[in-house]
């Protein structure tokens, strides 16, 4: 039941939100006529909405408390089946998976090139998220400069095409390889660092790569970037823009499947266990015979390979790259994906990537308040589920 105390608190919350959103929602400046428009109706709306939402929230909570109390007193049966139980049933999961796969395959036929482009971007971030997941989520090495390997991959393709005319498929493994090399290069100096110090140094590394690309004009053509990077070809066929984008979409799907396959195998292996142990307790991990250096370097290298390959895809997709695409904010977004999705969980990272990239795109219907809503969604996520969308689930081994 709603008590007087709840109503008083609800009024307080309503007033508080009206106060908070006052400068944003109420005051609107018209620069053309140099007047200020006062939109009092939005303030009223915010007040009523927050009042209502809070009361609803209290109502749900008290109902749950009352039910708990009645169960305790034996007046009500404790039903272990909740309303959401059907989500766990295998038939539901299978049909969900089936629908999902069908949707993914048929997607290009249903949507415009613009939408397909968005989906390709989201899929690239899935690959990036899974790569960073190895370093941050599984091995626990906080890496804020992941965008550096992304840039390495993209510029590898751009420069190798510019100077030697190498095609997409030739460069793809090279991009991954070079990413791994740079991963090891980053790994060596940071071997003894932990926590915040590791974060700052990796951040620095990310910036160094960007600044080198921006200023070493003879090598990377600087801020003007490199253009005319070809999209991946299909046996030399000449494709229109739409077809090429659709082709790239299916290639990305293949890449994502490949990434999930390899990352899953890595995580559930001897190496994956060593990485988890490294994350849990470095000293105990060493005492159990795990070579800390080798494990860390392997994590960095393998994590960076995915960024390298994603970088090659990025260059192919946008056909023009310059250092401005590889700023720190990219690293931050990828880190958000990993943390939001649940450190170490593959499914969580995939969901996190799709949510984080697609939601701002589809929120464009909110026009001006897109980023505000997005920020609010992130805050709510972190309040309600700080361990991430899919929390740590370790593998159980079958009895032989």
């Amino acid at each position: 039941m709603i008590t007087l105390k709840d109503i008083r608190k609800a009024i307080g919350i309503g007033l508080w939100f009206m106060f908070l959103t006052f400068p944003l929602l109420v005051i609107k400046v018209n620069p053309v006529e140099k007047t200020v428009i006062w939109r009092w109706h939005t303030m009223l709306l915010v007040g009523v909405a927050s009042f209502g939402v809070y009361l609803l929230y209290r109502l749900v909570l008290t109902r749950r408390d009352v039910r708990q109390e009645r169960i305790r007193l034996g007046q009500e049966q404790e039903t272990t089946k909740s309303n959401l139980h059907f989500l766990k049933a295998p038939q539901f999961r299978q049909s969900l998976a089936g629908t999902g796969i069908l949707f993914v395959l048929v997607f290009p036929a249903l949507f415009s090139t613009y939408q397909i482009n968005i989906m390709i971007t989201a899929l690239m971030y899935v690959v990036l998220g899974l790569g960073l997941n190895i370093v941050v989520g599984v091995a626990g090495l906080l890496n804020l400069g992941y965008v550096a390997f992304y840039a390495v991959g993209a510029y590898t393709y751009a420069l190798l095409h510019l100077h030697f005319g190498l095609g997409f498929w030739t460069v793809l493994p090279l991009g991954g390889l070079l990413g791994a090399v740079f991963g090891i290069l980053l790994g060596f100096p940071v071997l003894r660092l932990r926590g915040d110090y590791l974060a700052i140094v990796t951040l620095g590394f990310g910036e160094i790569i960007r600044l080198v690309l921006e200023n070493w004009n003879e090598f990377s053509k600087g801020p003007s970037g490199i253009a005319d990077i070809p999209r991946p070809g299909f046996f030399g066929l000449d494709m229109s823009l739409e077809t090429a984008i659709i082709y790239l979409y299916y290639l990305m799907i293949g890449m994502v499947i490949f990434t999930i396959f390899v990352v899953n195998r890595l995580q559930n292996s001897r190496i994956g266990r060593a990485w988890f142990a490294l994350r849990e307790d470095e000293i105990a991990c060493q005492a159990m015979g795990i070579d800390k250096t080798r494990t860390k370097l392997t994590a960095f290298a393998l994590g960076a390979t995915w960024a390298g390959m994603a970088g090659v895809f990025f260059a192919a997709k946008t056909t023009f790259i310059n250092p401005a695409s590889f700023t720190f904010i990219e690293s931050a977004i990828i880190l958000c994906i990993v943390v939001l999705g649940g450190m170490g969980s593959i499914v969580g990272v995939i969901v996190g990537a799709l949510v984080l990239i697609l939601v701002p795109e589809y929120l464009r219907v909110f026009a001006d308040y897109r980023m505000l809503v997005f920020g609010a969604v992130l805050v709510v996520m972190m309040l309600l589920r700080p361990q991430g969308i899919v929390a740590n689930v370790r593998r159980t081994y079958l009895q032989p």
Binding site: A277, I283, M288
Partner: protein
Amino acid sequence: MDFGGIRALDHLDLQVRHGEIVALIGPNGAGKTTFFNCLTGIYPPTSGELILTPLGLPSRQLNGLKPNQITEQGLARTFQNIRLFANMTVLENVMIGRHCRTRAEVFGAILRTPQTVREERAIVETSRALLEKLGLTALADEFAGNLPYGAQRRLEIARALATEPFLLLLDEPAAGMNPQETGELNHLILALREEGLSILLIEHDMQLVMSLSDHIFVMDYGRKIAEGRPEEIRNNPLVIEAYLGEDPHA
């Protein structure tokens, strides 16, 4: 072992012979855990030598080796304040112990070669056997962080055993255990000795120490103040003084 101006271990001379159970005792702060840390490579000793001679094999010096190399050589330890991998299952904690005795690398992991698959299966079997030996089978899929205290201590020992050591270093294995658990620990350590393991333990539980040990070393302020068989140590005035303080009436 010197930390700057502080000499934590002063000319400490200690031997463990094959198949022996040796206890290292002394008041808190004497340097026992520091000695373990030197032995296992966490602190490289500022002077002195650490030599391991497994039965029938050549001697090897452990000075300056990294902790994981020392474990590979055959020295395994447990920790005074339990350092388990809390967010991994009990079974996986023990499987980690098998890391240094197995070889699968990146490509083996990705491609799941028959060799790798065989190795993984062997790791799981060996780990389950160890859990069985230590009475942890029922908890195999539980997160290590959720275990009761006594089970956590046993898991630490299981994990150390998984590395196939010659010498097992136990740092206060009976701390916080009730008499029944201590009795089980007693049986376990004796059983391990039967299998050919040598054991060096730090303990404060005098009953356990006296009943188990073949040889006892006593430390105080970083120095060895006495060594000998349990009967000799029990009545040694220096030891009594170190633990209980000087007799004001003497």
